[in-house]
């Protein structure tokens, strides 16, 4: 019995069930913002909020960009996602709001 249990854990370890996966990279709000600005270039307003209580796994961003003009929501979000390909591998909760400058002016007015 003892031997089988020992064997069990050996198997478990060999199969790496409990081995920590790649250590979670902690990104800052600043980092997220600058990555998006790099990609979208002309960004009159951007705000990233870390909603993870410090673990760095949950972000919300507001992005205002001329590049969203004439693009449906899906395309806009894809554009933002493409700026964060690497980051989104470890950020598991990511929400975004995307506005063109005009839409943003209206939004601010509300």
């Amino acid at each position: 019995m003892r031997r089988s249990l020992g064997n069990f854990w050996k198997t478990v370890n060999q199969r790496n069930f409990f081995a920590p996966t790649a250590r979670m990279q902690v990104y800052t709000e600043k980092h997220i913002e600058s990555r998006i600005v790099e990609k979208l270039e002309n960004v009159p307003f951007i705000k990233a909020v870390d909603q993870s209580d410090g673990c760095g796994g949950k972000f919300h961003v507001i992005v205002v960009s001329e590049k969203f003009q004439g693009k449906p929501l899906l395309q806009r979000h894809r554009l933002v996602n493409s700026a964060l390909t690497e980051e989104l591998k470890t950020i598991h909760a990511f929400s975004q709001k995307t506005y063109t400058p005009e839409e943003w002016e209206k939004e601010k007015g509300n």
């Binding site: 031997r3 964060l84 909760a93």
Partner: protein, 149 residues
Amino acid sequence: MSIFRQILRTQNVKLVNQAFFNGPSRFCSAAAFDTKKFDEITKKNKIVIFMKGNPEQPMCGFSNAVVQIMRMHGVNYDSYNVLENDNLRQGIKDYSNWPTIPQVYINGEFVGGCDILLQMHQSGDLIEELKKVGITSALLKEASEKPKE
């Protein structure tokens, strides 16, 4: 290694596999999820949702939000729990080229995740999208019934 130990070892592996992959799962084995498979399952129903947990018990706030939106519109959909299968979880991200879960498909076409669904719901676009595929939203039914009262 003695034969006895070897037998024990294979049994242990079996036990572990059972614990991981059995249960009330749609996919009992680590089935291969390739493009063909995703083409098939995203077209099986007019609305298909890939989520964490199941509609009765969503395991993530974003997935829950999508479930609640669908409930409000009174639509039927297929749901796949990505937590039950890592191939499915990574596969759907690659297939949609979308980094997060949940993911919603309407008529075999990727529509978006929680943010987009929420905005479509708020703007009324979701009702239109549902109409396009022949689904009348329960919200629309409600609205058309009210004036008669």
